[in-house]
Amino acid sequence: MNGPFIIFALLNVGFVLLISPLFMSLIKKVKARAQGRCGPGLFQTYYTIAKLLRKETVYSSASSWVMRVTPYVCLSMAVVAALFVPLLYVPEPVAGIGNVILFLYLLGIARFFMALSGLDAGSAFGGIGSSREMSLAAVIEPTSIVVLAALAVVARSLNFLEIARDSAGMLFPVSATMILIGVSLFIILIVETGRIPVDNPETHLELTMVHEAMVLEQSGRNLAMIEYAGAIKQTLLIAILVLVLMPFGLVTELSVAGVLFAMALFVVKGSVISVIIGLFESSMAKMRLFSLPNLFIIAFFFSVLTIFIEVFA
């Protein structure tokens, strides 16, 4: 652990923690506007998390340590994962931090514990959500890995930090195939954050009983942690998309002005993607659970195509 890396760690994690709830509310706002409503304020998610932290936590009498540990694991894994995707400043990678597969599996631990906590309270809702979440995660996984493989093939690196170092300072994506990867990454972003047409983050009705049903038994500070972890995960996935499609603005040399500029730029870039997500959600209907694999196949196809284009180019 050298100096610049520690600064990177604090800067990146701090910034992710600060900004994540903003994108959450922004997407809600866009969706509300698209439906002709006014929508919540941009700081609503911050207020919600603060409110939940002050509330009492209710546990089911059937639940065990799994329920109590899960929120801490989820938030910690999200925070550790925040070290893997550079938002502002890119240091030299240390000890393999930034490895794309490790990143994916860190998010996997959080999902694993959340799925267990869904079963822990003994309610059928949690079971349904847990079962569906794990099934969808299983079906999307080949796509995620092949997309990452395509990214690794194009960028000739397995490490987000190295990929970012190569592309930092460029105005456009490193290669045209990155746009194809961008499409696949966008679909993964939609699936991983549980948005329409895969799931609906606003409800936990029967039709959309995936993620929200799984965390139905969580309350108070635990729910706050899980919501926060979800927001961080979304920001990180947005950041990867930004890294691929709009790499300009990342700094490789530390300077106060540069970092501040990168912050402002990331807020703008992240907002653009959030607006696109909001509009995308508003223009789609929820798909049937069992027709979802078709959606994943599209992303899979694009990434396989990317790998082949790279071979013949």
């Binding site: 597969i101 599996y105 003994g122 059928a124 796509t143 069992f290």
Partner: protein
Amino acid sequence: MIGVILYLLFAGLFALLLGTVLPLLIRREDKPVRTVSLIATALGSAFLAVAALPVLFSATTVSATLWHLLPGIDFTVVLDRLSSLFLLILGVVGLADAIYSFGYVEHGGHPMRRNLLVSLMNLFLLSMGMVVLAGNMVQFLVFWEMMAVSSLFLVLYDFESEGIGRAGLFYAVMTQLSTVFLFIGFILLYGETGTFALVPASPLASPGALAAFLCLFLGFSVKAGVIPFHKWLPYAHPASPSNISALMSGVMLKVAVYGLVRAVLDIFALDFTSGAVILLFGITSAILGIIYAYKETDIKGLLAYSSIENIGIIFSGIGLAVIFSDLGMPELSTLSLLAALFHSFNHALFKSLLFMTAGSVVAATHTRNMEEMGGLVHRMPFTAGLFCTGAIAIAAFPPLNGFVGELMLFESLFFGLQVVDPLTKVLLIFALSLFALTGALAAACFVKAFGITFLAHPRSDRAVHAEEACRSMLIGPAILAFLCIATGIGSFQIFSALGYDLPLPDMLVVGMLIVVTLGAVVLVVRATASRETRVTETWGCGLLSQNGRMEYTGTGYSEPVVTIFSSIYRTEKKIDRTWLDPDRAIVAGTRAGISLIKFFEEYLYLPVARGTLAVSSLVQIFHAGTLDTYILYIFVSIVILVLGVGWFI
């Protein structure tokens, strides 16, 4: 140094021999006999593990010739780097299993039969150790057969129970099939080299050698449980006592892997096609293994199918190593071979851990059906914690060891994609996507295994009355759980010490980051959030009380995946309705059912079995049952043999 290693090696083997003989000689029913024998098992295994470690890390070769059996056949013990890894696996799992068995063996069965169990367990370990240490083909085959027979008796331990006889029969046939293939393979190999030594002077690549390799590959595949030769595994593993399941899955399958790796590395010089064949068998086993495991509700059956998946991953690593070395990429070849070997070690640790803890659960609830468990996390907290550690390791989450093995395989595929030609690229993408699916399904599968077995309300009275396992049944698995964490976190350092510089993330740093972050999150939440906590009943949509009947079941849990992959499961949903009126307006009654076709059993095993039966009924004509006819047969055969041999010579 070499003297000390040999001394330890023979001390270990002798202790296991002692453990085998003792309970048979002292025919007493009380516990001390078994205790002494199990102490011998534990010590023997520990000695073998300690002997293996210096060889593994210094890459020296230790060998000793004990007797000259026949001209050209010596009784030789050889311990090199490859065999030391598998001896280490045997030693570690054997030690943990011996400790576990102190408590487990006393769980039923007549005392004399328990003595036999302990004795056979020692014999099983001893024969597996001797296979790994074998210096020539004859030794290899003899101990291979001893391993097969001792494990067959262990599978039949509880032979009065329903289904055990069938499991034993299935296992007997399959394990003999494996030996037959090995036998033919070794004879062909002898024809090529003219020596019984296991490792020829230089790797062979002739067409004859390819035929020998094919036979050996089939033999090892049957023993390792590679699909489509896997069917004995889900029969034999649940049938045998859990301490034996742990050994079978943890060690015996690895002995088959050892055979294959030895063949691939030292005996044959294989080309791309052979590598692709191994890879395809591996991927098929990996994906189908986990898909079948996910559907299981028998907890030991689930673990057995998951073993097939892991063997598939190991075989794929071996196949990739062959492919990459044929393509002239030695670094990637080493990376995938190390992935396969490290995963063998890891799988031995966490699968034995899971089988032991599952065995404790079965001993406490007297059922293997997960649908009758539930709520055990409150009744068996330590067992639950150990099972959970095993589940996290096998679901390949960082920083535990399972993750590192899979990461190495993923990395070799990722790097491979950047360099190979388009056709190979198709193969690698295919492998990559199926591995990803396998990995994710494994996570889902073990959420189900842990969640349905241990969490929520008890689903039956059996689960209500379950009690925590005794101390030895916790210490044994705890050793393995600790090693799962330690070898995962120290993976980078371990590979450095072994002399490999791999492009792996330093798990020690990652592990520390996770711990520090977890600590920080706990502190911040404690400082800022409300600490008010209330425990109350789960909200059940207005129902008065929540009970086990309302929970999500294991079958329900796997339903989405079963529907998505219905073409693989061959699920058939049948709905029969009868109507009261001719216009079919009023339903009189409905019958619905879901059936899963046992694909391999119906399309591969049964046709072969029927064919064999048809042939044997032809042979039956010659079996009159009178002694003089048989003497005539023998006479005729001898005459034919003499004439035949005379003709050829």
